[in-house]
Amino acid sequence: MTETNGALSILGRALLDGSIETVDLTHTLDPDFPVIVLPPEFGQCARFRVEEVSRYDERGPAWYWRNFTCGEHTGTHFDAPVHWISGRDLPDAAVDSIPPDAFVGPVCVIDCSQESADDEDFLLTADFIRAWEKTKGEIPAKSWVLMRTDWSKRSGADYLNLREDGAHTPGPDADAMRFLIDERDIRGFGTETVGTDAGQATHLSPPYPAHYLLHGANRYGLQCLANLDKLPPTGAILVCPPLKIKHGSGSPLRVLALVDRSPQ
């Protein structure tokens, strides 16, 4: 193989010598990982489940394999525009028809971990993003934007943080979403919580602004992300191809980030 200085050759060498690190942003698909809870009259998100087909036994002496079942929005997952009513009629808006270049691209990480620790209902605003840009630079067009809250470090009941008036988790407000879509032309938006929207987002206007506005503009969502604290504010590359499910509204997936660890 000839050494070249093409971009991919450089990338390949950097991946091998460790100057680019691959960071896993995915939670393990675990039957007990929380899923979104809707009012019980509505259909519910299927939990992740496995059933053994055989394990080197009478059901299959030399092999181990299982059936798994889950919803399109179980665990760390991708939201396609058709997931929401605002994106229902858009072209190329299901996981099988989204152009594949959408699944690999630059990513900005907005750190809201302190604010979320102080206020579990913290809402990311357009002003907060503008202030972030003053130190980190303007969000490039076609970027993924991830909201870091360190929520992935929570477990058990603290994760959904359900109370009698619903979930209490941070998320973006409508202005933030409009700013990211209309003025920064982002590719998608991702969170560490169970959805791209805040826990109390049903009371915002429009309700569920991240879902409504993102998907209405044919942009994508990622949720239940982990390890966002291991990413730099800018400069990393996100890799997030969902399963190619025919007319899928989303899919559980492995989300990776490529992070430059070379001495600056």
Binding site: D32, P34, V50, E51, S155, Y159, L162
Partner: protein, 417 residues
């Protein structure tokens, strides 16, 4: 008075577990009608429709007039002990292991004199109450009890072979998130259960009553989600060897018929809990319980399934839930057949509309969770295998026995509310 039951000692880990042996198992087809009634705690005797003669045991024809037109009728339990003996040896392994054993002849007020097991507190020639129950073989037998309650009467060793008293036993309640599960835990504590394992699924979702549940004496909260095979297997790995009574309180109920539903997602959830959930529990806990059917005073003794009475016949207002309950009922029958020979009874409680949110618009009379819980305790203490609870369930059951085809038509005419 009977010797009060003592808290069983901890098991000697060096001793082999005593395997279940059985009292005589086979009965004639005719006699199974007696067993079926005994499973409900009802004493039934054969009666000739031609000459009204009442007789026992079961026969093909009336011993008095030879008519073959016979029926089984509930009989009064009163009688008088006319002769008795205490067996001190037997060639039957089951009785040999349980000597001495008291048997005798009772002159029933209903007419016939019958051979019966005799409670230790019954005095010679005394008036007695003769109960019909299923024994460790699952077959109907008669036992004479003192006419009036005596101290520690339930602790009589012979009577205890017919009952499944929760006292000093370890109970698993599969779903403690509901009022029913919590009421059952409370009832088991009051009945003297030594340990009450209460399964909680998805502890990341809060549930009402959690603090009160944890405060019940003997309650240990265990992670258990019966829709998750791994979760069920993990819990059985932990406590399967000391689960003496399993009460499946998990249920999934949604109103709606087939055409009122859009797709099968909800129906699948119903099956996941009501049918596959039961199956997972049976596969994980069944073998251990079956093995421990004679394991001392706190042997495994009962598996309790709580089922909607519409398991018997579909009510379209809850059409697909009824279908899943029918599947569960069928599986419970399979379980009873599989448990035969183990000494572990399968208790099915068929209940009418329960007082809970998914049946909220239904009119009274309804069964409260507390009533269902106390009924379970009573049925276990009495050794029943089949219980029908609540006026609605009793009505459905009566019609079911009369003619299931007519019942189906009747239920089709009943709209909700």
């Amino acid at each position: 008075m009977s010797k009060p039951l003592q808290r069983p000692p901890k098991k000697d880990p060096q001793k082999r577990t005593v395997l279940p042996t059985l009292p005589p198992f086979m009965r004639s087809r005719k006699m199974l009608a007696f067993t079926a009634a005994a499973a409900e705690g009802v004493l039934k005797l054969q009666q000739c429709r031609a000459c009204s003669h009442i007789f026992y045991p079961a026969r093909e024809a009336c011993p008095k007039c030879w008519s073959m037109d016979l029926s089984w009728e509930a009989a009064p339990e009163g009688g008088e002990l006319i002769t008795e003996t205490t067996l001190r040896t037997s060639i039957n392994t089951y009785f040999r292991e349980r000597m001495p054993w008291r048997v005798g002849t009772v002159q029933l007020d209903a007419g016939p004199s019958v051979l019966a097991h005799i409670h230790g507190d019954v005095e010679e020639y005394a008036r007695v109450r003769v109960i019909a129950r299923t024994d460790k073989s699952g077959q109907g037998v008669l036992m004479a009890l003192p006419e009036k309650e005596t101290p520690n009467m339930a602790d009589d060793p012979q009577l205890r072979t017919l009952t499944c008293d929760p006292k000093y036993r370890r109970v698993l309640i599969t779903d403690g998130r509901t009022e029913l599960g919590q009421a059952t835990a409370k009832a088991m504590a009051n009945a003297g259960a030594s340990l009450i394992f209460v399964g909680i699924a998805e502890d990341w979702r809060p549930y009402p009553g959690s603090e009160e549940l944890k405060a019940i004496p003997g309650v240990e909260i265990m992670p258990l989600d019966i829709t998750d095979t791994i979760s069920v297997q993990e819990l059985a790995g932990e406590i399967g060897g000391k689960t003496d009574i399993l009460i499946n309180t998990a249920e999934y109920v949604r109103p709606g018929s087939t055409m009122e539903r859009d797709g099968i997602v909800t129906a699948r959830d119903e099956m996941e809990i009501n049918y596959f959930g039961l199956m997972r529990l049976i596969q994980a806990f069944g073998p251990g319980m079956k093995f421990r059917g004679a394991d001392g005073d706190n042997s495994a003794c009962a598996w309790v399934n709580l089922l909607s009475v519409y398991a018997l016949s579909n009510w379209s207002a809850y059409g697909t839930t009824s279908a899943s309950q029918a599947a569960a009922y069928s599986l419970s029958q399979c379980l009873r057949a599989e448990m035969a020979g183990s000494g572990v009874k399968v208790l099915n409680v068929l209940f009418g509309p329960l007082e809970e949110s998914w049946r909220q618009p239904l009119p009274p009379p309804k069964v409260t969770p507390e009533r269902l819980a106390s009924t379970i305790v009573h049925a276990l203490q009495q050794g029943f295998e089949n219980v029908t609870l609540g006026p609605v369930a009793e009505d459905v059951m009566r019609r079911y026995r009369e003619d299931p085809m007519v019942l189906e038509r009747e239920l089709a005419q009943i709209q909700m509310g």
